[in-house]
């Protein structure tokens, strides 16, 4: 409710609702106040122009146009609202029918609505006007019923979107009746787009009515609405335009009232007023003024393919800049695989995107050092994420990215072969034929069978695993020095995952490339990587070789030191987990990057937290074996209670 009230306080909302109130008030009071004056005939002033007696002049019978326009508000609005209500009721009933009637009958209703929706409203109106006859009643029935099919279609789509959701299924399983499901679960959740469409629909109905009366098929004499007034005034339009324009302007104002109110509500509830459905465009905060780029190193360690120091990613938030990634540093050599482990909110994916230069405004990437293959990636003065920068060729051929969801990472309207070939055409100077040939060769390299035929296919003809392989193949079009894989197998079945991981390792070995592998799955990281960094709340909290990624209690040498890493390891069951022990649980929730407390970000959830942890943030400290930990109590002994709670044991 409060969202709607806020909506009405925006400039658009205030204008719209203000006009709406004005129009509604006029509809009620105008005939009472000015009904007589509107009917009064002034035979001395037929078709007169504006004067002090008659502000907008008179019509062919000497009646004052201004007052007639005002009085006509009631009829125009009443008819429009009646027709809207009729259309909405019929539309909602038809739209809810598939839900209430069950599969068979529902499909028949849907098919009928689909046939009817093909015909534009005005045609239906004319058709029905013939049947019902000209006049106000006929017009209301005609316009109302004509609007019903498209409304029904809208309702069907909205309802179908909700009816498949799990909470509706859960209600069905609980034995809740169909009607109650409709009223209690479905309608409230489609109410918002529905209201927007009804409001804007009312505006459209108003215009239809005006058109109908204008044609002479709507309101008949002696009653008059705006459309009728326009038709009467049209005869003398070029000599005495106000007679037709005045009611026309009234129509525009009323239609604007509905449309603007609808727009304001749409904006508040996240619906697009133009399409009628949820607004797919993400809401983005105003771009903060670009912070002057601070001095950074332009050269890095020459032995590293990727050298990152102090990487920070910031986004403007309602209360200042939010930094989901802050101060991340690591380096990767050729042929080395570095894993980044973390959960949602850790910032691991944003780190990968920042390195791949894919963070768009208003996000801002900054670092002390971001050097790839000896090139300073931060040195590009132009907006780094937009194409056309000087690093395009380098990034396009030497850095390859494998994204998480293979089902959405390819352009569905372009053949796979062409999508691979693009890299060669734009960065390697190959012509079309040569580029396709190379694409086919790369598909073969990633073991896609029958590569010539497959290259001509569209993405939806590939399975998920095949698409990930094609994605890897796309990265092989150039000569990748770094492969960034962001959760590449999370969306895949376990057998397919094994194949894709094996392929990734093989490719990395053959190209002697560096691999940056992001995942939340510790066992996958263990399989693929040499070293691991663990991220929490935007920072690296531990860095260690993969062999040490075990609970120190279960091994004699090494093991993880940070309490978060240890809790993660104890929380995930594997094939050797002790069945008698509970799984570790981490209380609380990940930190909101916009509201980070002082001190260690993990303190609120850590059994070892002391006063120092809550005030001073620990820095990453390396030990003599090259592992680092950011903790004030690294390696302190921990135990597991029967409830799964992790506790300090010293």
């Amino acid at each position: 409710m409060s969202r709607w009230l806020r909506a009405l306080r925006t400039p658009v909302g205030m204008t719209g609702s203000g006009l709406l109130v004005l129009v509604l008030v006029l509809a009620v009071v105008a005939p009472i106040l000015w009904g007589d004056q509107a009917d009064a005939v002034d035979t001395d002033n037929l078709l007169a122009g504006p004067s002090s007696d008659h502000w907008l002049g008179t019509d062919s019978l000497g009646r004052d146009i201004f007052y007639r326009v005002l009085v006509a508000t009631r009829l125009s609005l009443t008819l429009a609202l009646l027709a809207t209500v009729l259309g909405v009721v019929v539309g909602v009933v038809l739209g809810a029918a598939p839900l209430l009637l069950g599969r068979r009958s529902g499909r028949m209703v849907t098919a009928t609505v689909n046939v009817m929706v093909a015909f534009p409203g005005l045609l239906l109106v004319l058709f029905l006007a013939v049947v019902f006859g000209v006049g106000a009643t006929g017009a209301v029935l005609a316009v109302g019923l004509a609007g019903a099919p498209s409304f029904a279609r809208l309702c069907q789509t909205l309802i179908a979107g909700v009816a498949e959701l799990d909470y509706v299924s859960a209600a069905r399983i609980a034995g809740v009746g169909r009607l109650r499901i409709l009223t209690r679960h479905v309608l409230p959740n489609v109410a918002e787009p529905l209201i927007v469409n009804i409001t804007i629909g009312a505006g459209g109905v108003l215009l239809s009515f005006a058109g109908l009366s204008f044609l002479g098929l709507g309101v008949q004499q002696p009653a008059y609405d705006w459309g009728r007034l326009m038709q009467e005034g049209l005869a003398g339009i070029y000599i005495h335009p106000l007679a037709a324009l005045a009611p026309g302007i009234a129509v525009i104002i009323a239609a604007l009232a509905f449309n603007l109110t609808g727009e304001a509500i749409a904006g508040a509830v996240g619906v697009s007023a133009a399409t009628g459905f949820a607004d797919p465009v993400p809401h983005v905060e105003q771009s903060a003024a670009p912070t002057p780029s601070r001095p950074h190193d332009a050269a890095g360690d020459p032995g590293l393919v990727l050298d990152v120091r102090g990487l920070t990613v910031g986004f403007p938030g309602p209360r200042g800049t939010v930094r989901p990634v802050r101060g991340v540093s690591f380096g990767i050599r050729a042929g080395e695989a570095l894993g980044v482990v973390g959960e949602s909110g850790s910032g691991k994916s944003l780190t990968a995107l920042a390195i791949a230069r894919l963070i768009e405004e208003p996000g801002q990437v900054d670092a002390d050092r971001l050097v790839f293959c000896g090139t300073d990636l931060l040195g590009d003065p132009a907006a780094p994420a937009s194409p056309g920068g000087e690093h395009d060729k380098l990034l396009g051929t030497s850095m390859s990215v494998v994204f998480q969801d293979p089902m959405t990472s390819f352009n569905p309207t372009m053949r796979i072969g062409n999508q691979l070939a693009e890299v060669a055409r734009y960065h390697q100077g190959l012509d079309r034929k040569g580029a396709i040939a190379r694409a086919v060769d790369r598909l073969d390299a990633v073991r896609v069978r029958d590569p010539e035929r497959r290259a001509r296919q569209y993405p939806f003809e590939f399975s998920g695993g095949m698409r990930q392989r094609a994605m890897i193949g796309m990265g092989l079009m150039g000569t990748p020095r770094l492969i960034i894989a962001d959760e590449p197998t999370t969306a895949l079945d376990v057998t397919v995952q094994a194949q894709v991981l094996a392929l990734l390792k093989q490719v990395q070995r053959e190209q002697d490339a560096a691999l940056l592998f992001i995942s939340h799955d510790v066992s996958v990281v263990r399989e693929v990587c040499d070293r691991v960094v663990v991220m929490y709340a935007g920072r690296i909290v531990e860095e260690l070789p993969v062999a040490d990624l075990v609970d120190p209690e279960r091994t004699d040498a090494g093991g993880a030191q940070h309490p978060y890493t240890r809790a993660l390891l104890a929380a995930v069951p594997d094939m050797t987990t002790d069945l008698a022990e509970p799984l570790a649980t981490i209380p609380g929730q990940p930190v909101d990057p916009a509201a980070r407390p002082a001190g260690c970000a993990y303190a609120a959830r850590c059994p070892l937290a002391s006063a120092r942890c809550r005030t001073e943030e620990p820095q990453l400290v390396a030990d003599e074996r090259g592992r680092s930990v950011a903790c004030w109590h690294p390696g302190a002994p921990l135990g597991l209670l029967a409830t799964g709670e992790v506790v300090a044991t010293s």
Partner: protein, 253 residues
């Protein structure tokens, strides 16, 4: 208590046979794990038991009697995978749980006893009773799954089906939900059908396991037996594909 039996269940969508004469038994008080990859039909099998998938053949029986799919008493309840769509965003979690309440006798419950029962259920899943007035949007994913579990228990079911209930949760939260499931099952003696693609999780939670491939059960038996001495090549393939098991990965295409 109750045994759930899938007897020669067949499900077809159009020309595609999703389940082909599947038979499976979930004995009273036991947890049966159902593993398989996408397209194996494991979720569809679960949905036949609650009336969400149409049977083209066979039957689903509870203690020998076909499962009632209409009416207010539903002895089989389900917890879904996605914590974000399993609760109506416009109903408080107390209302969501209360909707599934079934009075111990045929009469209606008074408002007070409703509230008390909802509170009891919430505490059963380790949530404070005071949370009953909160909206799902104020809860985390793990907390929402616990509410979904409370809602499933509200109907006093004899069988609970858990369909990938931890797959969409962060790993640190999975533990809490799995611990809770084990605890519930032991305390209430429920029969549970636990569906997952993750063999390690199934090993931790289930007593028996059935492996599905392409709409058929290819192997089933006690968990330790199947996972330590797999007989079917598909089971072996699944086991060897688990990261970290260092078995040679066979190529299939």
């Amino acid at each position: 208590m109750s045994t759930l039996d899938f007897d020669d269940v067949t499900v077809r969508y159009g020309h595609h046979t999703v389940l082909d004469r599947v038979s499976l038994s979930v004995p009273d008080g036991q947890v049966v794990g159902l593993v398989g990859e996408s397209g194996s039909g494991k979720s569809t099998l679960a949905r036949t038991a609650v009336g969400l998938a149409p049977l083209a053949g066979g039957a689903v029986l509870l203690d020998g009697v076909p499962v009632p799919l209409k009416g207010r008493r539903r002895p089989i309840q389900m917890v879904f995978q996605d914590p974000f769509s399993s609760l109506d965003p416009r109903m408080t979690i107390g209302e969501s749980v209360a909707e599934a309440l079934v009075a111990p006798d045929a009469g209606r419950m008074s408002r007070a006893s409703r509230r008390a029962e909802v509170g009891r259920l919430l505490e059963l899943v380790h949530l404070e009773a005071g949370r009953a007035t909160q909206l799902p949007g104020q809860l985390s994913g793990g907390q929402r799954q616990r509410v979904a579990l409370a809602r499933a228990l509200a109907g006093r079911p004899r069988v609970v089906i858990a369909d990938e209930i931890t797959s969409a949760l962060d790993v640190s939260v999975q533990g809490a939900v799995l611990n809770l499931l084990r605890e519930m099952q032991r305390e209430l003696g429920l029969a549970v059908l636990f569906i997952s693609h993750n063999l390690a999780v199934v090993r931790y939670v289930a007593d028996h396991v059935a492996v599905m491939e392409d709409g058929r059960i290819v192997e089933h038996g006690p968990v330790s037996g199947v996972l330590e001495q797999p007989q079917h090549h598909y089971t072996r393939q699944l086991l060897s594909a688990i990261p970290g098991t260092h078995h040679p990965v066979k190529e299939t295409s």
